[in-house]
């Protein structure tokens, strides 16, 4: 049997239409070369030659054999130029997904009576005396499609024999009917079922609840659970809303470099990127002598890939500034890294950051942009991920929908650091870390301000003491504060940090000197102040913190598909 080579036979299922599948495999290696492709003979189906256990595509082959029509795609465009060989590439068709059936306002009732095809993974299977219920999920939404089947359905033997079990992938065709159950409006009355891929009994995600700690060790399977499927969809919605917000406001996405020889904040805690250590995929037994060294026993960086030490970036801000001072408004959205040995629920070694940078803008513009951005993406999620948000509201954080709705509707509060300190001192509350002007605010302080003083409203604290902030922040006229801001939100704490940048060359150079930073290594950053400097401002937002904020997920390791933390680089 030949592999399906003709463009006229795609595996994608045409919505609301007949099955168009071809066998995807055979179980013996056929030596016949399919040439010319479209003339490849189709081998008749031999059940005995295709043990179901090994080759899940048998079932799909069976569907073919059962006489389903195979439509030939016709392109509406003229023939491409071609020689003796060559066929046309088919049109891309969107596969019918469960979200498209159940996601309509009438929850699918409009499609009742239609013959539909659903593919996905079995979540649960309940056999009652005369009917069997199969819950199928395809990840397009939280909802399963409830499939109801009696023993007349074609392929029922696969259910009877136990092959259709939790975790298995299946293909189901049936008629959409109004559901008797209270949990859904519609269900699929199965006419035909086919096993696509069986699930070994060792499948670790059975119906019983498993802990999130356990699921972190199964990061490759956890998106098949309700929680992680919902987190993935909300994460996706937040990312897309981020792009939409900035694009609609005329920002240009800029990719800041990941590998860099410069250290943005002078903060250290960077990962070194090197080819000095011979990498073979099996590097566990590397003799230290293999590393090139100089006569003095120093590492010979001149032999490294970049000819000098290179690191993973901790921020793309300085690079973003170079583009902001050319294109006006830009944003980055990419991974950043901290080699901090923090084993907390709030820290990752690898995380995604969004860093907008606005030219001809001051701190007020910056704060206004940050607030508008946050409201936009939260509104987008509330409007586009209703089902997932209701799931979080019920199972992860009660009241999260109200909390987020507040963020969308309420004005954000701003106050100065100095005011904040005065508020905290006046409160006469006993904090673990005593407050005085000049100290960094701790979570307990931030929580008191957002939760107690401003009743859950997002708060922006601005104008921090310069000694606790980065060198590039613009000095205020008081000489002791900088035009920095932190946005605090309930539950997560600091979500956004930003500042107006020091655009005055003399001030910036003086600050680098104060901090004993090497001015030479910032030559290009200083150039931005030499040639047409403009007031500009920006902020940074840790994307996983935003995911936590929008989902209520407590541990940041559950807000990213494959978390990297000390000791953990699996998958």
């Amino acid at each position: 049997m030949a592999f399906p080579l003709s463009p006229s036979t795609p595996l994608r299922l045409k919505p609301y239409s007949t099955l168009r599948l071809l066998s995807l495999c055979s179980n013996s290696f056929s030596k016949s070369r399919p040439f010319p492709p479209s003339a490849a003979p189709r081998r008749p189906f031999h059940p005995s030659a295709a043990p179901r256990r090994r080759c899940f595509c048998t079932a799909i082959t069976a569907a073919l054999r059962s006489g389903e029509a195979i439509e030939t795609k016709k392109s509406e465009l003229g023939d491409p130029p071609r020689g003796e060989f060559g066929g046309r590439v088919g049109e891309f068709t969107k596969r019918l997904k469960i979200s498209e059936i159940k996601g309509s306002p009438d929850e699918g009732l409009g499609l009742v009576g239609q013959t539909l095809t659903v593919v996905g993974w079995v979540r649960t299977l309940r056999a009652q005396s005369s009917v069997t219920f199969i819950e199928v999920n395809d990840g397009s939404c939280l909802s399963n499609m409830q499939c109801v089947m009696d023993s007349d359905a074609e392929g029922y033997d696969q259910v009877e024999s136990g092959l259709v079990s939790t975790g298995a992938s299946i293909w189901i065709q049936g008629i959409l009917v109004a559901s008797q159950g209270s949990k859904q409006k519609v269900e699929l009355k199965v006419k035909k079922i086919m096993l696509v891929g069986k699930s070994d009994p060792s499948y670790p995600i059975q119906k019983k609840r498993v802990s999130r700690e356990f699921l972190r060790t199964k990061a490759h399977l956890r998106p098949r659970t309700n929680t992680f499927g919902a987190v993935a969809r909300v994460r996706n919605a937040l990312a897309y809303a981020t792009h939409k917000f900035f694009q609609e406001n005329g920002f240009v996405w800029v990719s800041s470099p990941i590998i860099t020889a410069s250290d943005c904040e002078g903060a250290g805690e960077q990962f070194c990127v090197t080819t000095l250590i011979p990498s073979s995929g099996e590097t566990t037994a590397t003799p230290i002598d293999a590393i090139p060294k100089t006569e003095n026993g120093l590492i010979d960086w001149s032999q490294d890939f970049f000819g000098k030490p290179a690191f993973l970036t901790v921020s793309g801000q300085l690079n973003a500034e170079t583009y902001a001072t050319a294109l006006s408004d830009v944003y980055t959205f990419g991974p950043t890294f901290r080699a901090e040995n923090s084993n907390t629920a709030r820290h990752l070694a690898e995380f995604w950051m969004i860093e907008p940078e606005l030219a001809f803008a001051d701190l007020d513009d910056d704060m206004a942009c940050a607030a508008a951005y946050l409201q936009y993406v939260v509104r987008h999620v509330l409007e586009n991920c209703k089902e997932d948000m209701e799931f979080f509201n019920t199972w992860i954080e009660k009241g999260i929908i109200d909390r987020l709705t507040d963020v969308v509707n309420k004005d954000f509060v701003q106050l100065t650091y100095t005011d904040a300190v005065e508020l905290l001192v006046k409160s006469r509350k006993k904090f673990e870390f005593p407050v005085k002007w000049g100290c960094d605010l701790q979570s307990e302080h931030e929580r008191y301000i957002t939760e107690q003083v401003f009743h859950g409203c997002p708060v922006i604290i601005r104008d921090y003491p310069k000694d606790i902030k980065a060198f590039y922040m613009r000095q205020n006229d008081d000489g002791r504060t900088v035009a920095a801001m932190d946005m605090l939100v309930p539950r997560v704490g600091e979500l956004i940090g930003g500042s107006q940048r020091e655009e005055r060359l003399e001030y910036l150079e003086a600050r680098l000197d104060d901090l004993k930073l090497n001015k030479d290594s910032y030559w290009w950053y200083l150039d931005l102040r030499r040639y047409g400097s403009v007031p500009h401002a920006g902020f940074g937002l840790g994307f996983e913190r935003l995911v936590q904020f929008a989902t209520g997920i407590e541990n940041i390791r559950d807000a990213i598909p494959f978390p990297r933390t000390p000791g953990s680089s699996e998958f």
Copy 2:
């Protein structure tokens, strides 16, 4: 003078409206703390105390002093809960950009007669007997705003004194009038001009042409040139179109990990990521003895951040497969890395990749998706970046618009590798690398096929010999080819590579054994075939190659803001 703290005074200019600027700096450190912020007194303007040379914001202060109204923003929402302190964060307003003036179908004629404010950087300045022409660019589009000024204009002295020079940033207010020139429909008749930031005479991007090699050494300033501004905008449009295409088709964006302990393709050439080498920002003098070692003189990986060797990812595909087999259709869009010592115009050590992965899909679906994707993003650029594309058509690659229009309108051709080899052999053309079945196709072969045989139509070659392709590709029934595909486009060559993945556990294990790859390290990848395996397929596209394809830019180092290549990690 206090720093502007009140939310009622943003720097952003309200489109078509009055100036709303506040002084952004002072030139002496005032010790008075602005408290409460809104009551901070506004210091009168003293020209003598603010030498223009040092503090560019003087001019903006001057505008204030000249009596421009400062509007107070009013929120339409109720007051937020607040204590004794705290003000409201202002609304975010989009600044008027040159693209909004000149980008309309009438090229700005509809706004003639309006008083507008423009900010940006001086591209050129021409003084004629009675009038001065200043070309201002703000990066929002390729076009400059031509500003025409006579000596009556307020602030003309700054022009006269030579402070307004190429590269300087300026603020201009004037009346939009129909232009006498043939190059633009409208120009700005200047009423008032203010220098924002002067440009040192050493500014390296003067009007005379500079080479792209030179500009690579000025990567922080090159976006201020026509070419790199246009590349940045087209790159941005391609990125956004990528997200739009996949989102509109129900794909979920997944962030695959950047740091990983696994080597996707078993290909080597990876960067090592480590904290074993003490990083201090000044790592150039690192004694080799500082690296932890075991008793046998081996590197002690147990002391590294991840407890074992870790690398920068070469592909997110295997990770994407884990999410595709849960959520159905996903895509990654993130940076990937190759530590290849290739100093060519086609290679980067750090580049962005787009890797969609489709569940319940075969190679035909994959090809159809790749073709639809490419047509979508190219159409998006042709429709949304007209001016930039015309620039490329004139200055970078003559005929590029026709070439891209062809890609949008023509069907893509597919042919098998075997057919391709037959075509090449039949051609009797003398290739540098002789062709025979089993060999990898070289650029000369690919170019012959796309350019000679199919006259510039994109061509997909499929079903390659398994021995020249990766282990995860699905074996065809002939036993010697795999369901792989490469999309070739004119000029760039291979733009997209993809395959159907081997979903049969036994076949995949056998292949790993054949290639002597360690099955244990692929345990999670194999799990996807153990639990509800489904036919699935995907492809990868190097984003910078796409930028080259869409702009005609010849060297890939000019298609990314900050290129990383051997010996080059600057900026």
